[in-house]
């Protein structure tokens, strides 16, 4: 039951969406004068959607955000950012491993960004072939960096070390940013305490059931309102809603101040994820701000097969518990002990209950079980992964 993914501009709304032959519906990102303000999934009949039939549903989906978008448009449509601009440059870093096909789409999207003096580097992480290296040869403006130690956080740290500009913007190799993505990211760094910015990630395609269910269960987008996270406004340990490493930017100087990413975490290790969220927690604990800016849109290609999807969800559970374990034991954030209970009681158990009894808003049980198994394994795999990392480092240092 695939869905097409489309952008819809409300000020220029089509009456019919009709190129939906092989789809049974469409996922629409709704925009108002370019600003993303909501999303909706509409069913298609005979390969088309008659938009007029769904106006009230669309209104409902955008209402809250549109109110303020309309005010902003009225007040500031002919004005630029009102803070004195500072000259700030970015290094865009793509960490990749054996995914040349996706990477090509990503690089093609990056080539469409307007020139703001950015540098682009690809960190090829412990590749099994030289396919990525060969691909990069077709992009003369892209710098190729080989990182032999396997692990996404190792690659991220390498990117921070390699970057020649003050801001390092990360995108996953299976994500395609919009052309104004970089500008929308960078404008937030006008505030000196903003050390990190995350953007909104939307699904690039919903071709398979796995992709649809992933988007439904754990959407990468965190809403259409800009959010500011700081120690005085929210719990610095609750970083689940901050955004994700697939679409984030940070100041290079952070690496010296709070250390880099935890190399025992995230993809390529036993913990499978969590490196970004653990890092966010340390940024907030140091008294800095993180901004979630939903106008910085990137399109992520979710895993296509059911097996990959279940594995991703499993990894999500493992990563969360692994990074909580690190915060508890290494950062001495003892109040993290309350988080598992809250997650279990307020989210996980209700999800199980609804999904088993087929109440509204149900999720595939295989996802829920996979996540739960991941959670149980999380603390153990963290210690195991840490041990492996230390052994590896020892070996390297002789």
């Amino acid at each position: 039951m695939p869905k097409a993914v489309k952008n819809i501009e409300l000020t220029n709304m089509p009456t019919i969406i009709d190129d939906l032959k092989s789809y049974d519906g469409a996922f629409l990102l709704l925009r108002y004068h370019g600003t993303p303000i909501g999303k909706i999934i509409l069913p298609a009949k005979n390969g088309k959607i008659i938009v007029a039939d769904y106006l009230q549903e669309i209104r409902q989906a955008v209402k809250k955000r549109l109110k303020y978008a309309a005010v902003d448009h009225f007040l500031f449509s002919n004005q630029k950012d009102n803070v004195q601009a500072i000259d700030i440059r970015a290094t865009i870093a793509v960490c990749t491993r054996n995914r040349t096909e996706d990477l090509k789409l990503c690089l093609d999207a990056l080539m469409k960004l307007p020139d703001r003096g950015q540098e682009i580097i690809v960190i090829d992480n412990a590749p099994s072939t030289d396919a990525t290296k060969k691909l990069i040869e077709h992009y003369p403006s892209v710098r190729y960096v080989l990182e032999n130690r396997k692990g996404l956080d190792i690659a991220r740290n390498r990117a921070l070390a390699e970057a020649s500009n003050d801001i390092v913007v990360f995108t996953d190799d299976d994500a395609m940013p919009d052309s104004d993505w970089l500008d929308k990211m960078l404008r937030n760094f006008n505030h000196p305490l903003v050390m990190c910015v995350t953007g909104m990630t939307m699904p690039f395609e919903l071709e398979t059931k796995a992709q649809e269910e992933i988007e439904n269960y754990s959407p990468f987008g965190k809403g259409f309102f800009r959010k500011l996270f700081s120690i005085s406004k929210s719990n610095p340990l609750a970083t689940g809603n901050v955004g994700a490493g697939a679409n984030m930017a940070l100041r290079k100087s952070l690496q010296n101040e709070i250390g880099g990413f935890e190399e025992a975490l995230d993809a390529g290790t036993l913990t499978q994820s969590g490196g970004d969220h653990e890092f966010f927690a340390r940024v907030l604990l140091a008294g800095y701000h993180i901004v979630y800016d939903p106008e910085a849109v990137s399109w992520h290609r979710h895993r296509r097969t059911w097996k990959e999807a279940v594995n991703a969800i499993h990894g999500y559970g493992a990563g969360v518990y692994a990074f909580w374990t690190k915060l508890f034991f290494e950062e001495k954030q003892y109040s993290i002990i309350l988080f598992p209970k809250n997650w279990l009681l307020h989210t996980q158990l209700p999800n199980f209950y609804r999904s088993i009894f087929k109440l509204k808003k149900t999720y595939p049980l295989s996802f829920l079980f996979a996540e739960f198994r991941g959670c149980l394994k999380g603390p153990f795999v963290y210690f195991k992964s840490k041990k492996q990392l230390n052994q590896h480092l020892k070996k390297e240092n002789g």
Binding site: L10, T11, M13, Y32, L55, Q56, I58, R59, L66, K67, Y68, A70, V71, D72, F74, L75, F76, Q79, N82, V83, Q84, N190, H191, P192, L193, S230, I231, S232, N235, P236, E257, A286, G287, K332, Q333, Y334, S335
Partner: protein
């Protein structure tokens, strides 16, 4: 050689950090012979005076001693010795950027300008949450001022990093030395009333190496601020104190308990408050951050209220002091604008008529009123959009909602 700028540093027993600061003054890009530095050693018991006398400076360096009269007196004393056309005021614990003086002087394009510089709070590693929130407070304040459409207010003057023409400063007879604290706000208030034009210079940057602010000091200061606000109100009857109004207009049981408590059992209340302080330290150690934040807010509220009531004598007097509204009805300077005719024309109207009260309509719908209160700079057209966004977004959103899309 004529001296353009007089750099005035009041100091109190901090010879070490003062010396570092003199070193950074040597590195200024502004010609050293064009400025002088006046150190006012206020009640110093260390070697400050001797250190300054023996310091080999490339600029003219003066020092004088006071018996500990407070920063306001020290700054006034420095100003009275100054030969420069402009007075620059800084604290004794700042790390100046090399263009500091140059940027300050460059911003003085006319006699009425008051330049406020950027002083980011320098934080040590493993800082307490309290110090993190102090830094946040400062950065937020500076970030607002950096916006091109910022509407300046008396409390934008920060005594640790600003400059003013000596002519203007002397005309207003400098700082008021009778205040417990907030003498910078009070001067800012008089400056704005006198038609001064505030300007924020982001490039006039000096790191603030404040190593002494901690929770206890911050709470004690809150009490002094409450008392000082009453002093200011006694000096200027038209002074509108938003902070006090905000606290006093809250209708909560907690507030009534606080007020009654302060009235009848002040020492018991103070002891309870210091217990709260101990609790906060415990919360911080256990990393119970939301409990910490709540307690932080409550205790600051308590000490501020405590200071206000000490200053005013009783709650009733305080209430009268703070809450009796000042009538701002100035019919000749009232402007009605209709946003439906476009925001540009509204901006032009404001610049043309220089109003004190603005009534905003969108077509026939009343949106709200903007009052140019005393202590706020005269309103300009370019302030309008930000005011509308900050204060009237909700009202506007109802009227501007593009419902035609869904029909």
């Amino acid at each position: 050689m004529k001296v353009t700028a007089s750099f005035i540093i009041p100091t109190h027993n901090r010879s070490g950090s003062l010396k570092k600061m003199l070193n950074t003054l040597q590195l200024q890009s502004y010609p050293l012979q064009n400025f002088e530095v006046i150190v006012v050693a206020d009640g110093c018991k260390d070697d400050t005076v001797e250190m300054v006398r023996n310091y080999h400076a490339g600029f003219n360096l003066l020092v004088c001693e006071l018996p500990g009269l407070g920063a306001a007196s020290a700054r006034n004393k420095g100003a009275s010795m100054a030969n420069g056309q402009y007075l620059l005021f800084a604290d004794d614990d700042m790390e100046l950027s090399t263009d500091f003086i140059k940027e300050h002087i460059a911003a003085h394009t006319n006699e009425r300008i008051v330049v406020v510089g950027y002083s980011p709070f320098k934080l040590e590693t493993n800082a307490s949450i309290q110090r993190m929130s102090v830094r946040e407070w400062w950065e937020e304040k500076f970030h607002e001022m950096r916006k091109k459409d910022h509407w300046f207010k008396y409390d934008n003057l920060t005594s640790g990093n600003f400059s003013v023409s000596s002519h203007l400063f002397n005309k207003l007879k400098g700082f008021n030395t009778s205040l417990l604290c907030r003498e910078d706000y009070e001067l800012g208030y008089r400056l704005i009333k006198h038609g001064a034009q505030f300007h924020f210079a982001y490039t006039a940057k000096a790191f603030h190496r404040d190593e002494v602010t901690n929770l206890h000091r911050s709470l004690q200061r809150k009490k002094s601020e409450g008392m000082a606000d009453i002093q200011i109100k006694k000096l200027h009857s038209d002074f509108i104190n938003k902070e006090a109004i905000y606290y006093l207009s809250q209708r909560s049981i907690l507030k009534s308990v606080l007020v009654k408590g302060i009235q009848y059992f002040p020492s018991l209340m103070d002891r309870t408050a210091s217990f709260g302080e101990t609790m906060m330290n415990l919360f911080e150690r256990l990393r119970l951050l939301s409990s910490w934040s709540t307690m932080n807010y409550r205790l600051h509220q308590y000490w501020y209220l405590r200071g206000l009531m000490l200053g005013a004598g009783s709650y009733k007097q305080l209430y009268e002091f703070v809450m009796i509204p000042n009538v701002l009805m100035n019919e000749d300077r009232k402007l009605t604008i209709d946003l439906e005719k476009g925001i540009k024309s509204a901006e032009d109207e404001i610049d043309r008529l220089k109003p004190i009260v603005i009534e905003i309509y969108y077509g026939k719908n009343f949106i709200g009123t903007i009052n140019c209160e005393p202590g706020m700079e005269a309103i300009k057209g370019y302030h309008l959009r930000k005011i509308l966004k900050d204060k009237f977004s909700r009202e506007l959103s109802v009227l501007l909602f593009p419902d035609q899309i869904f029909k």
